[in-house]
Symmetry: C2
């Protein structure tokens, strides 16, 4: 039972949504209309031994990550942070000093991105540390960028570098790409047709874009911006990059195909192509072979 | 380490909130300004063996409760539901049929209260079932009722009955008091000065109103509307009633002091009085004794 499959089952039967729901479940954030305004909302869990390791990571790092991975969802929609809520289920022996330290990290991180913590819920239990952060955001003048909208011929772009996020602590220190997303989404010439942040790994998240856009993708090994000597399998399969992955007009990037926005390189890694039947994600290797990344067989662990 | 104490510690240091935060943490919901509109938000956890028991309760009941206890927070502010988000950490052997059943219950319950589920996050882990629900709400023309605002001389009122919620399954079947809250909050004559929903038990939740309003409370044993032969200790100490507790002008209720709104009895159980030093909550027993409910000594378990 894969989590995405499970969520898909849930959302597919969610077909009686009122017209006030402007972005239904299944995107990086949902959205709802309130008067003249739209509010975007998303929630994520952060679990000890799943997303972090309290034996290795400090509480400041854990609290920061609980917030920044949600801010990365806001970036994926080109939204502007509004406020946050947090829950914590704390192990019985956690103690009030450590919980203060954790909540201080969450609150200060959120505040530093203009996203004040306005509520929460704390439980004490016999399980491991379990956190959730809910974030609200506004479009603030820029139409939210969805996962759907990619077209055959679009170039596929990614910010920063890919792979080895967990071993290099990138997953603890990354900057959510809020400003870059808004910078490129505000101009018709550069605006992404579809966008997502990479949390499950390039292959899977590109698959999400392809499914929602009903197109296929071909990327090239030679173009992958690999972090810290990551091999292509790591660049494509590792999760938690928290980079923006988007498809846009070729004209947006000019030539020779490397682009920099606010000091961050944006790399063209491939093209969207017409989908014959089921959307596919394929990689052209430097040896000339083509590997189907939808196929579980290639998967790197 | 009590949960309320912990949250208080967290919120007290939250003193650099921007002006857009119209209701800071510490109330039933926080609120933020967006354009001309205000959005209320709250989040709660529902944990197996803490708030529910999967050995006894059906998934339909668990899913319903995960949502209705958050709707009760909306009722406490006299708000109108807008949308919801949910997270689930599912035990590894939970299975997709059961998770579908659970999410269907959450989604359908939320939808039936005009609160569509617009997003979520699912994890699979080795821990017990852990759910969160985030709800957004709007004032929809009625100024939110806070926990602060109670005055000496106010009558203390409660909807429905108190105590024995858990043994009688009331905690699974209760109706969040959304309509009643809006009915009384919309008219200046009946509008509560302060309000909360009873989740921690009458004594503690009345204590929250007193602290936030800086008044003390005296309630009377003879007036408590006890559920199913609950004794006064159960009516005052048991949690999960999910009834509205509020203080308002005496004139609002007329005489002889029992009031009915939309078929639900509202009972006057006491008075707010001037607080000398620390706010206190006391009960006048039928034998003439007065018991201080702030004092842990009385507590019923």
């Amino acid at each position: 039972m894969r989590e995405f499959v499970l969520l898909n089952n849930i959302y597919q039967s969610n077909n009686r949504l009122p017209a006030t729901v402007t972005i239904p479940p299944g995107d990086d954030m949902g959205a709802i209309q309130i008067g003249d305004d739209q509010v975007l909302a998303a929630v994520d869990q952060l679990i000890d031994q799943v997303h972090v390791d309290l034996h290795k990571h400090t509480l400041a790092q854990v609290g920061r990550k609980a917030v920044t991975r949600n801010l990365s969802d806001i970036a994926a929609m080109a939204g502007q942070p509004l406020c946050a809520l947090a829950t914590a289920a704390l192990p019985r022996d956690f103690g009030s000093d450590r919980s203060d330290e954790l909540f201080t990290a969450m609150r200060d991180t959120a505040a530093s991105y203009g996203c004040p913590l306005i509520g929460g819920d704390v439980s004490i239990w016999d399980g491991p540390l379990h956190l959730t952060v809910t974030v609200l955001a506004t479009p603030a003048g820029i139409d939210p960028v969805k996962r759907s909208g990619g077209k055959p011929g679009d170039v596929i772009c990614v910010t920063g570098k890919l792979g080895k996020s967990y071993p290099t602590d990138h997953h603890l220190t990354f900057e959510p790409r809020l400003d870059i997303a808004r910078a490129i989404a505000q101009y018709p010439a550069t605006r992404p047709h579809c966008m997502i942040d990479i949390s499950d790994g390039l292959a899977r998240d590109l698959g999400h874009l392809c499914e929602m856009s009903n197109v296929s993708a071909v990327i090239e090994q030679s173009k992958l911006p690999c972090r810290d000597n990551a091999n292509w399998q790591q660049a494509v399969g590792d999760g938690e990059d928290y980079e923006l992955l988007f498809a846009t007009d070729h004209a947006a990037i000019g030539s020779p195909g490397t682009w920099e926005v606010m000091g961050v390189p944006i790399t063209v890694i491939g093209r969207m192509v017409k989908s014959d039947n089921q959307p596919t994600v394929k990689i052209k290797l430097v040896d000339g072979n083509i590997v189907d990344l939808n196929d579980q067989g290639w998967e790197h662990h």
